[in-house]
Protein backbone atom coordinates (compact mmCIF):
# COMPACT_ATOMS: atom_id res chain seq x y z
CA UNK A 1 0.00 0.00 0.00
CA UNK A 2 1.30 3.42 -0.87
CA UNK A 3 1.82 6.11 1.75
CA UNK A 4 -1.32 8.03 0.74
CA UNK A 5 -3.37 5.06 1.77
CA UNK A 6 -1.85 5.07 5.19
CA UNK A 7 -2.80 8.70 5.65
CA UNK A 8 -6.05 7.66 7.29
CA UNK A 9 -8.25 9.83 5.07
CA UNK A 10 -11.72 8.31 4.89
CA UNK A 11 -14.04 9.77 2.29
CA UNK A 12 -17.62 8.97 1.41
CA UNK A 13 -17.60 7.38 -2.04
CA UNK A 14 -20.91 7.22 -3.88
CA UNK A 15 -21.17 5.15 -7.05
CA UNK A 16 -24.05 6.50 -9.09
CA UNK A 17 -25.44 4.01 -11.58
CA UNK A 18 -27.87 5.46 -14.10
CA UNK A 19 -27.55 3.02 -17.00
CA UNK A 20 -29.21 -0.26 -17.84
CA UNK A 21 -27.02 -3.39 -17.92
CA UNK A 22 -26.10 -5.43 -21.04
CA UNK A 23 -26.76 -2.82 -23.77
CA UNK A 24 -23.49 -1.15 -22.73
CA UNK A 25 -20.87 -2.41 -20.31
CA UNK A 26 -20.78 0.67 -18.06
CA UNK A 27 -22.67 -1.28 -15.39
CA UNK A 28 -20.24 -4.18 -15.39
CA UNK A 29 -17.11 -2.03 -15.31
CA UNK A 30 -18.70 0.31 -12.78
CA UNK A 31 -19.33 -2.61 -10.47
CA UNK A 32 -15.67 -3.62 -10.83
CA UNK A 33 -14.60 -0.20 -9.57
CA UNK A 34 -16.90 -0.43 -6.57
CA UNK A 35 -15.53 -3.85 -5.59
CA UNK A 36 -11.90 -2.73 -5.96
CA UNK A 37 -12.71 0.48 -4.10
CA UNK A 38 -14.07 -1.48 -1.15
CA UNK A 39 -10.54 -2.67 -0.35
CA UNK A 40 -9.47 0.91 0.40
CA UNK A 41 -11.25 1.29 3.74
CA UNK A 42 -13.42 4.13 2.52
CA UNK A 43 -17.13 4.66 3.16
CA UNK A 44 -18.75 3.13 0.09
CA UNK A 45 -22.38 3.42 -0.97
CA UNK A 46 -24.10 2.58 -4.24
CA UNK A 47 -26.95 4.58 -5.79
CA UNK A 48 -29.22 3.24 -8.52
CA UNK A 49 -31.44 5.64 -10.37
CA UNK A 50 -32.99 6.13 -13.80
CA UNK A 51 -32.26 3.06 -15.98
CA UNK A 52 -29.65 2.01 -13.40
CA UNK A 53 -32.44 0.35 -11.40
CA UNK A 54 -32.62 -2.31 -14.15
CA UNK A 55 -29.16 -3.48 -13.04
CA UNK A 56 -30.72 -4.89 -9.87
CA UNK A 57 -33.66 -6.64 -11.58
CA UNK A 58 -33.89 -10.26 -10.45
CA UNK A 59 -33.76 -13.18 -12.86
CA UNK A 60 -31.20 -11.81 -15.34
CA UNK A 61 -29.80 -14.57 -17.55
CA UNK A 62 -27.42 -13.69 -20.39
CA UNK A 63 -26.89 -17.24 -21.66
CA UNK A 64 -28.79 -16.63 -24.89
CA UNK A 65 -26.90 -13.42 -25.76
CA UNK A 66 -23.53 -14.93 -24.91
CA UNK A 67 -22.29 -12.12 -22.64
CA UNK A 68 -20.95 -12.46 -19.13
CA UNK A 69 -23.74 -12.65 -16.56
CA UNK A 70 -22.26 -10.26 -14.05
CA UNK A 71 -25.55 -9.76 -12.24
CA UNK A 72 -24.50 -12.46 -9.75
CA UNK A 73 -21.65 -10.15 -8.73
CA UNK A 74 -24.08 -7.73 -7.09
CA UNK A 75 -24.64 -10.36 -4.42
CA UNK A 76 -20.97 -9.98 -3.49
CA UNK A 77 -21.37 -6.30 -2.58
CA UNK A 78 -22.23 -7.20 1.02
CA UNK A 79 -19.10 -9.36 1.33
CA UNK A 80 -17.04 -6.37 0.20
CA UNK A 81 -18.23 -4.23 3.11
CA UNK A 82 -20.68 -2.24 1.04
CA UNK A 83 -23.58 -1.82 3.45
CA UNK A 84 -25.65 0.79 1.67
CA UNK A 85 -27.35 0.34 -1.67
CA UNK A 86 -29.83 3.11 -2.40
CA UNK A 87 -32.49 2.76 -5.08
CA UNK A 88 -34.63 5.74 -6.05
CA UNK A 89 -38.34 4.97 -5.73
CA UNK A 90 -39.40 7.34 -8.50
CA UNK A 91 -37.07 5.64 -10.99
CA UNK A 92 -38.54 2.23 -10.07
CA UNK A 93 -42.13 3.44 -10.35
CA UNK A 94 -41.62 5.14 -13.70
CA UNK A 95 -40.44 1.78 -15.02
CA UNK A 96 -43.33 -0.18 -13.53
CA UNK A 97 -41.04 -1.89 -11.03
CA UNK A 98 -41.20 -2.27 -7.28
CA UNK A 99 -38.71 -3.44 -4.65
CA UNK A 100 -40.06 -7.01 -5.06
CA UNK A 101 -38.64 -7.09 -8.60
CA UNK A 102 -35.09 -6.54 -7.34
CA UNK A 103 -32.49 -9.11 -6.35
CA UNK A 104 -32.53 -9.71 -2.61
CA UNK A 105 -29.13 -8.33 -1.58
CA UNK A 106 -27.91 -8.81 1.98
CA UNK A 107 -24.86 -8.27 4.17
CA UNK A 108 -23.82 -9.88 7.42
CA UNK A 109 -23.72 -7.34 10.24
CA UNK A 110 -20.59 -8.04 12.28
CA UNK A 111 -21.86 -5.74 15.05
CA UNK A 112 -25.05 -7.75 15.37
CA UNK A 113 -23.90 -11.37 15.62
CA UNK A 114 -23.45 -11.60 11.82
CA UNK A 115 -27.13 -11.33 11.26
CA UNK A 116 -28.12 -11.06 7.59
CA UNK A 117 -29.57 -7.65 6.84
CA UNK A 118 -30.97 -6.16 3.62
CA UNK A 119 -28.58 -3.99 1.63
CA UNK A 120 -31.18 -2.27 -0.52
CA UNK A 121 -32.84 0.89 0.73
CA UNK A 122 -35.54 2.33 -1.51
CA UNK A 123 -35.45 6.11 -1.07
CA UNK A 124 -37.37 9.11 -2.38
CA UNK A 125 -35.92 11.66 -4.80
CA UNK A 126 -35.57 14.07 -1.86
CA UNK A 127 -33.58 11.53 0.13
CA UNK A 128 -31.44 10.73 -2.92
CA UNK A 129 -30.72 14.46 -3.30
CA UNK A 130 -29.40 14.51 0.25
CA UNK A 131 -27.35 11.31 -0.19
CA UNK A 132 -25.67 12.78 -3.29
CA UNK A 133 -24.96 16.13 -1.64
CA UNK A 134 -23.48 14.50 1.47
CA UNK A 135 -21.01 12.30 -0.43
CA UNK A 136 -17.39 13.35 -0.97
CA UNK A 137 -16.44 11.53 -4.16
CA UNK A 138 -19.00 10.83 -6.88
CA UNK A 139 -18.31 8.21 -9.53
CA UNK A 140 -20.83 7.85 -12.33
CA UNK A 141 -21.25 4.74 -14.42
Amino acid sequence: MSEELQSGIVKKFLYINRRAPHGTNYAQEGLEVALIGAAFDQDVAMAYLDDGVFQLKSGQDTKAIGTKNFSATYRALGDYDVKLVYVERESLERRGLSEDDLMPLVYEDEDDDWEEKPLIHVVSAGEMQKIISESDVLLNF
Partner: protein
Protein backbone atom coordinates in the same frame (compact mmCIF):
# COMPACT_ATOMS: atom_id res chain seq x y z
CA UNK B 1 -22.12 21.19 -5.57
CA UNK B 2 -21.31 21.64 -9.24
CA UNK B 3 -23.48 19.53 -11.55
CA UNK B 4 -22.23 19.01 -15.08
CA UNK B 5 -24.64 17.97 -17.85
CA UNK B 6 -23.18 16.99 -21.23
CA UNK B 7 -26.26 15.56 -23.01
CA UNK B 8 -28.91 17.21 -25.11
CA UNK B 9 -32.22 17.26 -23.21
CA UNK B 10 -33.89 16.38 -26.51
CA UNK B 11 -32.16 13.00 -26.53
CA UNK B 12 -31.40 11.96 -22.94
CA UNK B 13 -32.87 12.49 -19.48
CA UNK B 14 -29.61 13.68 -17.83
CA UNK B 15 -30.75 17.28 -17.41
CA UNK B 16 -34.10 16.15 -16.03
CA UNK B 17 -32.39 13.88 -13.47
CA UNK B 18 -29.91 16.58 -12.58
CA UNK B 19 -32.75 19.03 -11.92
CA UNK B 20 -34.65 16.44 -9.85
CA UNK B 21 -31.64 15.49 -7.75
CA UNK B 22 -29.72 18.75 -7.32
CA UNK B 23 -30.24 20.97 -4.30
CA UNK B 24 -30.99 24.66 -3.96
CA UNK B 25 -27.76 26.64 -3.97
CA UNK B 26 -26.00 24.29 -6.35
CA UNK B 27 -24.71 25.17 -9.79
CA UNK B 28 -25.60 23.43 -13.06
CA UNK B 29 -23.11 23.70 -15.91
CA UNK B 30 -24.11 22.68 -19.44
CA UNK B 31 -21.26 21.45 -21.66
CA UNK B 32 -20.89 19.53 -24.95
CA UNK B 33 -24.39 18.62 -26.27
CA UNK B 34 -25.75 19.73 -22.89
CA UNK B 35 -25.59 23.33 -24.15
CA UNK B 36 -28.74 22.73 -26.22
CA UNK B 37 -30.59 22.75 -22.89
CA UNK B 38 -29.97 26.50 -22.64
CA UNK B 39 -31.92 27.42 -25.83
CA UNK B 40 -34.50 30.00 -24.80
CA UNK B 41 -37.29 28.61 -26.94
CA UNK B 42 -36.43 24.95 -26.38
CA UNK B 43 -38.45 22.33 -24.56
CA UNK B 44 -36.03 22.33 -21.63
CA UNK B 45 -36.47 26.05 -20.98
CA UNK B 46 -39.18 25.45 -18.39
CA UNK B 47 -36.88 23.12 -16.48
CA UNK B 48 -34.04 25.63 -16.61
CA UNK B 49 -36.42 28.40 -15.54
CA UNK B 50 -37.32 26.39 -12.44
CA UNK B 51 -33.63 25.88 -11.68
CA UNK B 52 -32.84 29.56 -12.00
CA UNK B 53 -35.08 30.30 -9.01
CA UNK B 54 -32.67 28.74 -6.53
CA UNK B 55 -29.70 27.45 -8.54
CA UNK B 56 -27.08 29.00 -10.74
CA UNK B 57 -27.07 27.81 -14.37
CA UNK B 58 -24.01 28.22 -16.61
CA UNK B 59 -23.20 27.14 -20.13
CA UNK B 60 -19.78 26.60 -21.72
CA UNK B 61 -19.14 29.23 -24.39
CA UNK B 62 -16.65 27.15 -26.36
CA UNK B 63 -19.30 24.47 -26.88
CA UNK B 64 -21.96 27.04 -27.83
CA UNK B 65 -19.69 28.58 -30.43
CA UNK B 66 -18.79 25.20 -31.91
CA UNK B 67 -22.50 24.51 -32.40
CA UNK B 68 -23.38 27.88 -33.87
CA UNK B 69 -25.58 28.88 -30.96
CA UNK B 70 -25.37 32.67 -30.64
CA UNK B 71 -25.64 34.15 -27.17
CA UNK B 72 -29.00 35.79 -28.01
CA UNK B 73 -30.48 32.27 -28.29
CA UNK B 74 -29.60 31.54 -24.65
CA UNK B 75 -32.20 31.98 -21.92
CA UNK B 76 -31.72 35.07 -19.83
CA UNK B 77 -30.29 34.27 -16.43
CA UNK B 78 -27.99 31.58 -17.83
CA UNK B 79 -24.37 32.66 -17.56
CA UNK B 80 -21.94 31.93 -20.42
CA UNK B 81 -18.50 30.92 -19.13
CA UNK B 82 -15.26 29.58 -20.67
CA UNK B 83 -12.97 26.68 -19.64
CA UNK B 84 -11.18 28.93 -17.15
CA UNK B 85 -14.61 29.65 -15.64
CA UNK B 86 -15.37 25.90 -15.56
CA UNK B 87 -12.21 25.39 -13.49
CA UNK B 88 -13.17 28.26 -11.17
CA UNK B 89 -16.63 26.72 -10.64
CA UNK B 90 -15.01 23.37 -9.79
CA UNK B 91 -12.80 25.12 -7.25
CA UNK B 92 -15.71 27.08 -5.79
CA UNK B 93 -17.89 23.99 -5.26
CA UNK B 94 -16.54 21.21 -3.04
CA UNK B 95 -17.82 18.42 -5.30
CA UNK B 96 -18.43 17.85 -8.97
CA UNK B 97 -21.18 15.52 -10.18
CA UNK B 98 -21.16 14.60 -13.88
CA UNK B 99 -24.56 13.42 -15.12
CA UNK B 100 -23.18 11.15 -17.83
Amino acid sequence: MLHVVNKSPFEKNCLESCVRLSQAGSCILLIEDGVYGALFNGEASEEIQTCLKDRKVCVLGEDLQARGIESDRIMSGVEVIDYAGFVRLAVEHPKVQSWL
